[in-house]
Symmetry: D4
Subunit: 218 residues, 8 copies
């Protein structure tokens, strides 16, 4: 298990991370961590490793792109002093190109996505013990689908930035693709973006595997 | 993995099972399975074993005792024709003795609890492939606490009935006791009864272990 | 223009037809016709052909399959004595196979779909002056997509039944395909099923063309 | 078709334009354009000319007079940089003279109406490619009715300003009068001001005709 | 003053009479008489003639035509045993012909209106001490307006029935016409049907004059 | 009739004047004048003297004492430039002495009441054409009741200030006393302070009599 | 202390007893006993005599008269098998004579009040161990006030019935009169009927004194 | 009785004191004092000692620790000029250590608790006539329970500070322990912290005994 006693683990991202978390602080009791993968990660860490006392904080915000993250980075990441930081961003950067194609202000194209993400990682690395970069994903099994193809391009950027920076890399799209071989995408999300609880379980498991969580621990 | 392709798995119980499930049918999309351990079991089954197509149904009902289960058994269990049936009941049978001691109509004492539970199991066994009996639990680490002691007595009844009938037995109290060694009960539940998401993770993991769920399955 | 003075035109279907119509009677003022293509058809008929006094009635019902239509056919169609009847059904018959694959009670497979639709048409034809059959559709441009392929199969059934019965045939999928060549499906519907106002305009225009509506009429 | 690829078309006006649009930005998905003629224009542009990618923005505001428009002109029109601007204003300027005759602060009399509207047009013309001026209207067929007569006077002002400035002119009152020959005004609006969906279809069609929209385009 | 000590005065009619009265019993404290002319009549009777102890009951029901009155006459009029009965009906009988002209089931034409009203009066007269017949009205000053002309026709029927039966006759249209000479109809009602408080004052005063109410009584 | 064409009549006071009026401006359509005597005065002025076009404004505010009036006098009275000003204040000045006797900050004793009221009248008189001073009242017929006796003392102050300043004087307590001879106070107000509609009719009639309103005017 | 271990004490009455109790069963946790004197009695019995385990049940119902009690006596009193029964009724029997004097159906006059109350007591006495009769009260210190005088008359009836039947008698009016010597009635209740918490403390203390509750018990 | 005529008694604390009090001022009618022990103390003071006219003010605030009290001390205590001040704080200082152990910012450990409480007492003593210090409590009868043991430690601090400063000391834990000998804690509070009405009665009685309240006073 890579997480150590007393560490603080902060998740940042968009609505998939947010998932109805409490505001302003996404931590503590009473569903403060939201209803998504962050809450599942926290629940299983507490259930299986109660002795570690990991403090999980959710700073996801619905509708965010990487540019929005940049705007709140100081307050919502650096000022929080996390030991671990997990970033999953890019869904809206891509989606707005496809659902509101006539409103270009909302689009974040690959170049800007990559440079902004890289800058955040470079700026943050000295201050956190460990970084986790999770790809954005699209619950569409056809890799020729236009939006899926674009999302894969953004996922490749995340991989590149992870490798450059030595961050842990979580390929959420690959994790979902394994399930999409068996289930049609509508089972996991009506809009191919916001997953059901099962989809969040896919995300949580992918994250937990990356940190060497041991399900069978006594 | 003991669950097989295309099987139907029905959970019945009280508010801990219910957890805001949809009515009348606690199955399908949009949070129909509620927010508790049943939803977690379903999510991880779908995430890890999508090829099995397990159908999970939640028939928990807040406030129920074993006597209430008996009253709705035909409609909510037998008429559903499940392949697997999981029962977790007893919290209210015990709790009412302690929170409203002057209202005896609400109390279900050990004799009645045992005979009713046994009758349900005997009546149902021929019709379902596999039974799972989960103990009720109380999130209090002091075994001399009056209500904890009573709850343990009811847990022992569940164990006895499970052994008699060859049902899978899930000792939820033991699973929680492992966590309570590290965390004070208020972390898992303000009222020592209704768990946080972390408590539901304890329950879901205990169930999944009992059916030989493999977290590391490819 | 095929519609004639004083005729009653009844639409039946699922949520795409329903679109928040009033209950029990989906006709009259104050948005009673809902927010979808039925309301658009009515609005343009009144705006361009006020002298005809066409009475439009909406009997769509969210979640319906062809089997649900059959159950309410006497009351909601025959008892209404429409001069024109337009049917658009099949979305849920197909969708449930893909979003809740483990709950087969909700699925309506092609054989049952075809025989039920045909029976309704045969039973109704003698009582209405003119029938319009609109295909169900799926806002996915990839014809190899599993659900799109199934939906096309249902569309072909509608075409077959229309030809047999001499009903007017409206190929809504073809109408959408023309738009999907230019716009990604997420622009028209986040879930690829429930269209935006623009999607309803596609449907209304396809219907109005089929009845020889003249946009440029003085 | 006068609108060209990639252009931005902004509508400004009162509650008839507003019609429950989103705030602050009346554009994008989820009904952001409101429920009136602006939404219909957008829907048919997207449905019939998807390849043009016209961006429609709604800046109508309930209760506005031409004086209110003037107060928010910089922010809501000039700062938006539209290629096309459509103005329909005057209803409240007139109506307040008739429904609250004792509160003169709310009245905008013809002189002020004309000079304010002209000033806005003169100021804006250099910055937008094309202007559309739509008359206000009153759904009363009796031209001797006091409020109808006043509204016609304001419509004449709009026509004059349109001619002076070379703007496209849309005579909404004339469009409605054609319908009012067949239907009593209560069919189109209980208060003779806020139209039903059919009335909005009249407005949308009048606008679309003015920009040479082709209903029968393949 | 024609009303005498301890008498019960019942008003029946449509939404103008109803005006948010309590259900099922429109009498007593806390606004039970609604916000319209019935409440005003009651208020001034109590304020000026407290010693008479007149009991006022409101049985108006929104949307009612004379046919609807007939359907509830036994329960809502005869079973109440009023000493005085005031009827004002006809608005909806006429309005539906104009606002939903294509839905003829909702129309009550003059013949049916007259015969139904006459039958109710004949049937009721032996059981109540005094009848008051109030005309329906339309807040439109142009007597050539189609709906106004029809409403006048219904008013004439009320007058005829009043004369035949010896009922007190209240010409509400005439009372409003006096005001409409000075004020545009929109001041009294946006939809020309449901009056403001000022319009209800016109109605209340017309009624009170008919029963010889003395404003200057000590 | 003392009110003249085109005059503005402003009422100020506490909750009895306020009565749910609109904010910030208590004038215009849609119940903006509230549900009390102000609305009744306005309604009957419009119904009987439509040719005068009297503009009625309600600036009552629930809970106000004369000290609260003083604090908002510039904005809510002087800046409004009324031709007529009607003041009814004092209920809360007295009531707080009786319902929360231990909280003296809320009490306004006779000296302060008199000096504050006189100062407001003196300051305002030069700016308004006509002043009306209405006494506060208490719906208790027993003049020996402690709170009634105090209220009478405040009423006497109002009378004195009216006489000094030549204002019209309306003795609301006397008007109510006439009714209380016949009806127990609970018929007019459960709390002896906030009247029913009948109580507001008493107030409106007392006001209208003071301005020589003619009920029988043609 | 007259109450003994394990006894059930049932209160019946009107809104003063009801005070927002739970339905259908006014007993148990979470404010089920309401917010009035019944809840206070229960709270102090539990706080001071926890070893007695007294079960308190609230069956008050807002608006009830003694006639309403009679209608639900079998179900709400006899079927409950209480050891102690406390009755406080009469407020509405009197109040309706004063607040809605023109609606005689709502009035219960002294003869009917006395005979009905006596019949209930006679019928019930054999089945309950101990009866408590509490007078109704009116928070008006002036004994010449009409409604107070009537209420005193009803209180005298309660006293008479208590003496005949050997019930414990609680003179709530006397208890309040002691307080009203110091405080004006508006401090205890705006409507002189529904007491503040302080008024309920007066009632609870009067009851507890009657059963020899010992405040200073260790 | 230690409280004297006309004194002001202010309570400050956390949610147990707050209990839904009005904001910003927790005093006056209509439940402004909340639903807890403060309201009970006020009610019985008014009921039994109406002639003293004690003014009770509630300044409790949910979630507060002693550090939060310090932050609002000037405004909420000193500026109020109370004659008596009662402090009950510490629950959250302790609870946060047990329910959210991983969020140390929320914890107030014994040293800081003691120094902060002492500083407040020292600073305030010269300005109030009499101080009452109430211990925090935990409704757990097992003194070896971790959180109970900590709470007892905080109670001991309160006792020490009370002795040093000559404040009246109220041992709420001891008062509850007497009840917990008879009743299981769940009867008094599901979360062992927020008491039922019975628990508030324990608190109110403990306070009233400390000020020599005489239940049997005439």
């Amino acid at each position: 298990m890579k997480l150590q006693k007393g560490q603080k683990l902060l998740f940042i991202g968009d609505s998939i991370t947010d998932c109805d978390r409490a505001r302003p602080a996404g931590e503590g009791l009473f569903g403060a961590l939201g209803k998504g993968y962050v809450s599942l990660v926290d629940a299983f860490l507490q259930a299986v490793y109660p002795e570690l006392g990991i403090r999980v904080v959710n700073k996801g915000l619905g509708g965010n792109t990487v540019v929005d993250l940049e705007n709140r980075w100081q307050e919502d990441v650096l000022d929080q002093n996390p030991d671990w930081l997990s970033i999953m961003i890019g869904t809206n950067d891509v989606w707005r190109q496809y659902d509101t194609p006539f409103i270009p202000e909302g689009h974040v194209y690959p170049d800007r996505y990559e440079s902004t993400l890289r800058a955040l990682v470079v700026r943050t690395k000295p201050h956190v013990g460990q970084l986790v970069l999770m790809t954005p994903f699209y619950l569409e099994s056809n890799k020729q689908d236009a939006m899926r193809a674009t999302m894969d391009q953004y996922g490749a950027i995340v991989k590149r930035v992870a490798e450059e920076s030595g961050a842990l890399f979580v390929d959420t799209q690959a994790a979902f693709d394994a399930v999409l071989k068996e289930l049609y995408s509508a089972t996991l999300a009506w809009d191919r973006v916001h997953p059901t609880q099962a989809g969040h379980a896919v995300l949580a498991r992918a994250f937990l595997k990356a940190v060497d969580f041991d399900w069978n621990k006594k």
